[in-house]
Assembly symmetry: C2
Amino acid sequence: MTDRAAAGNRPRWAIALHGGAGALPGDLPLAELQRIRDALQEALRAGSAVLQAGGASLDAVQGAVRAMESSGVLNAGRGAVLSHEGLAELDAALMDGRGRRAGAVGAVRHVASPIDLARAVMDHGTHVMLVGLGAEQFARERGFDLEPDSYFITERRRRELERVQRACGTEHGAPQGTVGAVALDMHGDLAAATSTGGMSNKHCGRIGDSPIIGAGTLAENEVCAVSATGNGEWFLRFSAASDVWARVKYLGTGIERAAREVIGELEAAGGQGGLIAIDRSGTIAMAYSSPTMLRGLASSERAPEVIVEVTGASAGHGPAHV
Amino acid sequence: MTDRAAAGNRPRWAIALHGGAGALPGDLPLAELQRIRDALQEALRAGSAVLQAGGASLDAVQGAVRAMESSGVLNAGRGAVLSHEGLAELDAALMDGRGRRAGAVGAVRHVASPIDLARAVMDHGTHVMLVGLGAEQFARERGFDLEPDSYFITERRRRELERVQRACGTEHGAPQGTVGAVALDMHGDLAAATSTGGMSNKHCGRIGDSPIIGAGTLAENEVCAVSATGNGEWFLRFSAASDVWARVKYLGTGIERAAREVIGELEAAGGQGGLIAIDRSGTIAMAYSSPTMLRGLASSERAPEVIVEVTGASAGHGPAHV
């Protein structure tokens, strides 16, 4: 792989995605595991199709994330984890590496695809971030169909919330399942997108790192694109995505090492999770300190691959190069 | 004495604050200008008193910002600019340089001191950021008194909103008046705090850079503390505070130059505003690309000074050293 990079066999396009860091519950039925794998494969297919046709990385990451949001088996959109009140409150952001345009929504209910709403915020151009009822009002203004709360709630998440609340009424579920994607397109543009329901049993109105530009989501053509997953409070306090960006931009650190270093320092400080990143040459980094991170990648130079480990065989970091 | 001289007369404590970047309206009555000056002086006095008594920088910046929030003449707390619906929706964040602990609230109504609420979020320790109705619910849980909408609305802001809406129903007021503070205490700890009503005529639910850790607010003992003001969407997209932090940390750039460079690059990209920053040696930077930035500073080595220029005599950057 290094040889190929040295030979200048730079991919014309590349995409990576994650379905969240954490550990899959031991009692997860095999059929559910297969549905998770299918969801990641479908998301990878959706994103790759855009890139292969010469489309924009922004559309590719949005499409990949939208597919994961609608899967019903990942922690985003339908199937997201539930708040203390038993409701899905959703966060999402996406960023265009061209000129660092961005859109984000937080603590929004009733919107099936929060990543599409974040895109609408970005395209509207007035604001970067809308939250809560204001974000929902914007969705109505832009013609989004609103779904009832029940649309988002799955039996698995309801049981999960009950379990967490039985254990301790004020405890929160382990971070898991945030989804995200990063991509490089044929035009050399980078993009990143992230979407999540946050953590089980969270306080209403809680926002983690996912919709925060510079924490969970970041893209700049000349540097890199990043999407994070894990213990959102830590990634937010340490501006994780910005730190990867800064190491690449100011220190000239390679994307793989930058990703590993940031995840390592977060772990040393007490925060577990992972991130995916891509640089302008199409090199992909996938680093995580959690037992595993659901992930996938594809490029013009390699067949799509989805990695769903029940326990992490290689925790620390996944494949580094496309 | 010799040691201190060799160390550049490093102050035992130092604090800087801003009352926002922008331009004061030409029709502002002189009496109102005096009230703004009084508010900044009172905030500087409140913060300095904490530091002089050996208190924590975190308490100092919180106290300074709380004083500005209650002044009624700055864009934070009472007297904040109004949303499209004519309501005050408030954002605030603060960060403790020790271990990068942080608390933030966004799009919150009815809370007289959003910075106190951000502090409560941080001290509670479960989450870093709460927004909208969830943040208000948390305020009730923590025993905050809630104020009616009318508490926040001043005649000046009501006229300002009418003017902006007459000019164009979908236009937004120029950014102005966000308040913030950064400080170094006798124990060597840095802290930053920022509070704002955002921009006049904003969409409900809009969040700017102020409450975003890494964009409008950041503090890390070993590096620097930053509080920004200006066109929030730009500061958010460019993770302005993180960029200052990264230049100091990874390039070894001095705080004054780092602040100037980031404000310069933001201006070149199209975003106007300013920021205040302080490093571990107590050196203060105040950079802005707007016509002026209301500001003040004080330290163990110098008398308090508040600078309220009607038009910027020295736009670009203010005094660099305490």
